[in-house]
């Protein structure tokens, strides 16, 4: 018989958002060493590799990513009435249908086609600072990098890059720690994004081009098509899911290499290690440290009964440090032999990151360009990090120096 989760003695994870990320991670990883499960402010957290995988792969746990606003006490009617199915929180057949229709646009092959454009984008951004030997690399390279790529993918014009970047950042504040205060800004950004996206779609309907929006309009399987609302949602999901994630992941990567110059040297001397380096960076320091699910029915797992409605956080940042899967997890080592089990930073199960091939290609191209162009990379000041919320994490400022070429 499974024991109801409420009757079990469990460690609890305090909220303490004013902790630094490293303090919070240390605490979580310490807790994970003793218990796969912990209590948190909204429900429970799974902390080990196996349990994070177990929850993310179990279809009875549904995505709660559409509920974060309500969980933080927001009950704004205008907002709640706008909430509709997104690929990020759809389940069952609705979800499979959406993913199948958009999948060809996100296959490894599609991502590979954009690699030359990715290289060109990093090179151009880096040109502006190359001769100085110094950069605030977040501002100069990481922040702008994903925008042209997502615009190129979608087919949005260059004039829109700035607008696009701002909207993506503002919409994502919903996963930040300060929802009550930022809420009006978020709603305004969502509305603006929707109007903008509808404009893009209308343009492509009248003038098809070689881009994702045209593909999505055409995406069709046995007579089935995305309707306008679904199209808008998909384009928004790409804008929102594909920008802040990539830029923060690249920022975290450069911070790691600046702090581990010997690893940067290893990479510079053997660029065939780039794909492995990307996986190790994501394992060691993922931009998305967790996600959230709720029990769609009573669920028994590991001898514990979770009643219907239970909220569960899945802690990728502790699962990625699980010594039973990754030997010497605290060592950042880009030559690490693959263990046959992937890191958790791109998720798992049916909601596994749709943009994974694209994200990997973006990071791989950026690593190989920057490794060649930034010999002797080192920190040139203090790295400042964004506040640790439940959302996307990365450096807000990263001053570096390197040998100018």
């Amino acid at each position: 018989m499974a024991t109801p989760v409420a009757d079990i003695q469990l460690p609890s994870i305090p909220v303490l958002l004013d902790q630094s990320r490293s303090e919070r991670l240390a605490l979580l990883r310490e807790t994970a060493a003793d218990s796969w499960l912990a209590r948190n402010e909204i429900g429970y957290s799974v902390l080990t590799y196996e349990s994070v995988m177990g929850i993310l792969r179990d279809k009875r746990w549904h995505s709660a990513t559409g509920l974060v606003a309500q969980m933080q006490g927001i009950s704004d009617d205008a907002f709640l009435s706008r909430r509709r199915v997104s690929i990020l929180n759809a389940e069952g057949e609705v979800h499979v249908r959406l993913r199948r229709l958009v999948a060809p646009a996100f296959s490894p092959r599609s991502a590979d086609r954009l690699r030359p454009f990715m290289r060109q984008t990093v090179n151009e951004l880096f040109d502006a600072v190359a001769h100085t030997g110094k950069a605030e690399i977040v501002r100069d390279v990481c922040e702008p990098y994903p925008i042209p790529i997502i615009c190129e993918l979608l087919g949005a014009p260059k004039e829109d890059w700035k607008l696009f970047s701002r909207l993506a950042t503002d919409v994502l504040r919903i996963f930040g720690g300060n929802l009550a205060e930022e809420f009006p800004l978020i709603v305004a950004a969502q509305q603006e994004l929707e109007t903008y996206t509808e404009g893009l779609i209308a343009d492509r309907r009248s003038q098809p081009a070689d881009d994702l929006i045209t593909d999505l309009i055409a995406a069709e399987e046995s007579g089935d098509k995305l309707n306008t609302e679904e199209l808008t949602m998909m384009v928004e999901a790409v804008i929102v899911g594909g920008t802040d994630t990539t830029r923060n992941q690249l920022g975290l990567a450069i911070a790691l290499f600046a702090e581990h110059p010997e690893q940067w040297e290893i990479l510079r001397n053997d660029l065939s290690l780039v794909p492995r380096a990307v996986e190790e960076v994501m394992r060691f320091s993922g931009a998305v440290s967790g996600t959230i699910r709720f029990a769609s029915e009573d669920i028994e797992y590991n001898g514990v009964l979770f009643p219907k409605g239970t909220f569960m956080s899945t802690s990728m940042s502790t699962g990625n440090f699980d010594a039973s899967v990754f030997p010497t997890p605290n060592v950042f080592d880009i030559t690490r032999e693959p263990v046959g089990q992937p890191h958790l930073s791109l998720g798992a199960g049916i909601h596994y990151c749709l943009g994974a091939s694209l994200a990997r290609a973006e990071l791989q191209e950026a690593f190989s360009v920057l490794a060649e162009r930034m010999p002797n990379l080192s920190l040139n000041g203090v790295v400042e990090y964004k506040p640790t919320g439940v959302g996307i994490f990365g450096p807000s400022s990263l001053p570096v120096s390197f040998s100018a070429q």
Binding site: M53, R57, K59, H95, V96, R99, R100, A103, P104, F106, S107, P108, P275, G340, Q341, P342, A348, G349, I350, H351, Y352, C353, L354, A356, S357, R360
Partner: protein, 63 residues
């Protein structure tokens, strides 16, 4: 049993390789490869589970 994958739709998520590592593999090029097109024994059930969990329903099983 015969396993096929629609490679236009496969997103290399690795869900199948985790569940049925003897049937599916993702190589360093990032692409998925089928190791056993006609799995037998325990791998038959694992292949079915993998097909069920594939986010894009790219795997087809013919019994």
């Amino acid at each position: 049993m015969k396993v096929t994958v629609d490679f236009d739709i496969c997103a290399s998520t690795g869900a199948c390789t985790q569940i049925a590592p003897e049937v599916f593999e993702i190589r360093t090029d990032g692409y998925l490869y089928i190791l056993q097109e006609n799995p037998t024994g325990a791998n038959e059930e694992l292949a079915r589970q993998a097909a069920d969990l594939c986010p894009t329903a790219a795997i087809t099983i013919e019994e």
